[in-house]
């Protein structure tokens, strides 16, 4: 019977059927190709959950342990797959608990559709039980949002929501649906949205601008590429690689651009930004042409704007016109889709090697290796380092894992030292810096890509912000690997306190519970490592495990992450100690 319903949805578009609003919601989701959604039921969304029960062989709902977890799981799902993540919650606190995940998705351009239940329309504005103005609350952190009060509006609004979430520069969309609209009936017919007249998702590629960019690049003596997540979102990895290889331009990435070109690629010179690599930061202020592709010159990337790449001509390939000249004044702006623009650019570029210029990157890398990397990944001191844990993970996953990191020191170490062979493999909260992101995001990532090894790397602070999602992992048997790098501190804040607040460690020390016992309480296999000679075997065992696995590594308490650009300093004043 259920299969019949599905066929009707797919094949019969002209004829309509009389169904309820809540059934329409589920059938719209199925029509959009949604196979999994994450959420938490409650009063105002119950009719939709009742339909989910009926359609459970066509669409799975994963009950997270908190709505924030649902939003982050949907983000993890979207980030690894490129598809739209879906989260659902009830009105009031259910809806407000989604907001952190929505804000995270907004600043990191993650396609998300969030559906919230709302009190019945006659109660709107009456301070009803679990009523909150979620449309008002979510307005500044959504790409688009909308309240639905009539069942008949549901198909069109959901179609529009998916179209807006995934087109152009992706982002989160929230649909708030009153309970009477869920109970109401409509003549159902679903058509995918093909366009919105007030919204142009992708600017046309300006071929004149492409030609100007090519001329600047061809005449450059010291060109430098910095790419961002725009490459991944625009599926332009191959095009970028072709441009990089033809021109021989040293190329670096922002945190969200990581993995678009493999770590091992000879022209991949590492990460830019506050805890990025030494060479790309220093040489940003020596290049003559800076080619920014699908990145937005975040302050964590640029440091002090007044001293950022002032000597260089700046070319900015960008899909979002509002990003052009927002932070850094460009000489040539190439609006449009990265894949189309780079495809147009490639034949105009001269073959080159820039070997002398590239050598400068290698020389500075050698300095960074000697002063920092060596001791991070192959330490000689007693205490364990976060870097050596990452090295073991690289060895055991052969660089094929998706790394889901939380926020803080371990995140910077994970991004610096993870080896990535496959695109969409660095899933982290870049813009918003949301502690608690990793555990639920890893759940979504693993479910969207069950064949990939998914390793969550989390600090002891962030882990305890969403630790309840162990319940979701256990109940749904999600085989994620969880690594907690425990230094018994909110490490990044402590590092700042040490460097800039005379070691006044205000509220950063943590007395932690027995994390392994907690994991075991959820029937998740777990191990604690405190000594170097136990590490390799423990990581090997974790990666070999077919099930979820928890590994706590007790690392040196007061290690710092270097290099570091102190906030407000110039990228070229990056500190090695």
């Amino acid at each position: 019977m259920k299969t019949e319903t599905a066929n009707k949805t797919q094949n019969v578009t002209e004829k309509t059927e009389r169904i309820t609003g809540s059934e329409a919601i589920i059938r719209c989701l199925i029509a959009e190709g949604v196979d999994i959604l994450y959420g938490y039921p409650g009063g105002a969304i119950m009719p939709v959950y009742d339909e989910l029960y009926k359609f459970k062989d066509q669409i799975s709902h994963i009950l997270t342990r908190h709505e924030q977890g649902a939003a982050h799981a949907a983000q993890g799902y979207a980030r690894i797959s490129g598809r739209v993540g879906v989260a659902m919650a009830t009105s009031g606190p259910g809806a407000t608990n989604l907001v952190t995940g929505i804000a995270d998705a907004q600043i990191d351009s993650t396609p998300l559709v969030c559906i919230t239940g709302q009190v019945a329309s006659h109660l709107l504005g009456s301070d009803a039980f679990q009523e909150t103005d979620i449309v008002g609350i979510s307005t500044p952190v959504t790409k688009w949002n909308c309240q639905v009060t009539k069942a008949s509006e549901i198909p069109e609004v959901i179609a529009k929501a998916f179209y807006i979430a995934k087109s152009g520069r992706p982002g989160p969309v929230l649909i708030d649906i009153t309970k009477d609209a869920q109970f109401g009936e409509l003549d159902f017919k679903y058509e995918k949205c093909k366009g919105v007249r007030s919204y142009k998702p992708v600017p046309d590629t300006d071929l004149e601008a492409v030609a100007k960019a090519a001329e600047l690049i061809n005449n450059a003596k010291k060109p430098f590429i910095v790419w961002g997540q725009g490459i991944i979102l625009g599926k332009a990895e191959e095009q970028l690689k072709a441009v990089v290889e033809k021109t021989g331009i040293p190329s670096a990435w922002t945190i969200l651009g990581a993995s678009a070109i493999p770590t091992s690629h000879p022209l991949n010179v590492g990460m830019v930004g506050m805890h990025g690599n030494y060479a790309p930061n220093v040489l940003t202020n020596e290049c003559d042409v800076l080619i920014a592709i699908g990145m937005r010159f975040d302050d964590r990337v640029t440091g002090n704007l007044n001293t950022y790449a002032k000597q260089a001509k700046v070319i900015h390939f960008e899909i979002d016109p509002a990003e052009v000249d927002k932070n850094v004044k460009t000489d040539v702006a190439v609006l449009g889709d990265a894949k189309l623009s780079l495809t147009a650019l490639l034949p105009l570029l001269n073959t080159n090697t820039h070997s002398e210029w590239h050598q400068k990157f290698k020389d500075l890398y050698a300095i960074e290796f000697e002063k920092i990397i060596k001791d991070d990944i192959s330490p000689t001191k007693d205490g364990l380092t976060m870097g050596e844990v990452l090295k073991e993970i690289n060895i055991n996953t052969k660089g094929n894992a998706a790394i889901v990191s939380d926020v803080g020191q371990h995140q910077m170490i994970a991004c610096r030292y993870s080896e990535f062979n496959i695109t969409k493999s660095n899933i982290t909260s870049g813009g918003l810096g949301t502690m608690g992101f990793a555990l639920p995001a890893a759940i979504g990532a693993k479910m969207a890509a069950p064949d990939r090894e998914v390793v969550a790397i989390i600090g002891d602070g962030g882990y305890q912000m969403t630790i309840q999602e162990l319940g979701t992992i256990f109940q749904n048997k999600v085989p994620v690997k969880i690594v907690v790098l425990n230094n018994e501190f909110l490490g990044m804040v402590r590092q700042w306190q040490q460097l800039f607040f005379d070691k006044r460690y205000a509220s950063t020390e943590m007395t932690n519970p027995d994390f392994v016992t907690i994991a075991k309480g959820y029937y998740i296999e777990g191990k604690r490592v405190t000594k170097r000679d136990e590490l390799a075997a423990a990581v090997k065992e974790m990666i070999a495990s077919k099930d979820a696995y928890f590994l706590e590594v007790c690392v040196e308490k007061e290690d710092n992450v270097f290099p570091m650009i102190p906030s407000g300093a110039s990228v070229s004043d990056i500190r090695l100690s």
Binding site: G136, K143, G195, R197, D325, K326
Partner: protein, 178 residues
Amino acid sequence: MNEEIKSFTISVYTENNIGLLNRISAIFQRRHINIESLTTSQSEIESVNRFVIVVNITESQAIKVVKQIEKQVEALKAYYHTDEDTIYTESCMFKIKSDLLFEEPQIQNIIKDSNARIVTVNKKFFVLEKSGRRHEIELLRRELNVFGIMQFVRSGRIAVTKEEMKISEMLSAFNNQL
């Protein structure tokens, strides 16, 4: 970069949807920009609304704000213009005691000189309406204030631009695409 702060008129063509005012005003709020005046009405195109927003900011701020507004899904197009680029006016109303018309003959001269219009008169009060530039309205208010004003209200600025804003062309291009 010490750019001059000037008065800019920001014109926005939008769909007529609930919540859009919130979305647009939030763009100013987030950047700590005070809105001097905001007027919204139907535009020359059926089903398209027009916002006229006056702010005192630098030109580079105006450029960025306009881009952020255009980025909103339901905003069709946004522009910024200086005072010189627009024809603009404001409107105001005064409610004044009717006795004064007879007791203070000067008031009649003020009304005549200011090109204000009497909207209604009854035994208790009369209502005066005037359109014009801010300084003209301000002058009239000061002159009448001497005699006592029961109520005063002034509208936000409305403005048309000297340059063309090709919204109709934009909309028909979209319709042809589909």
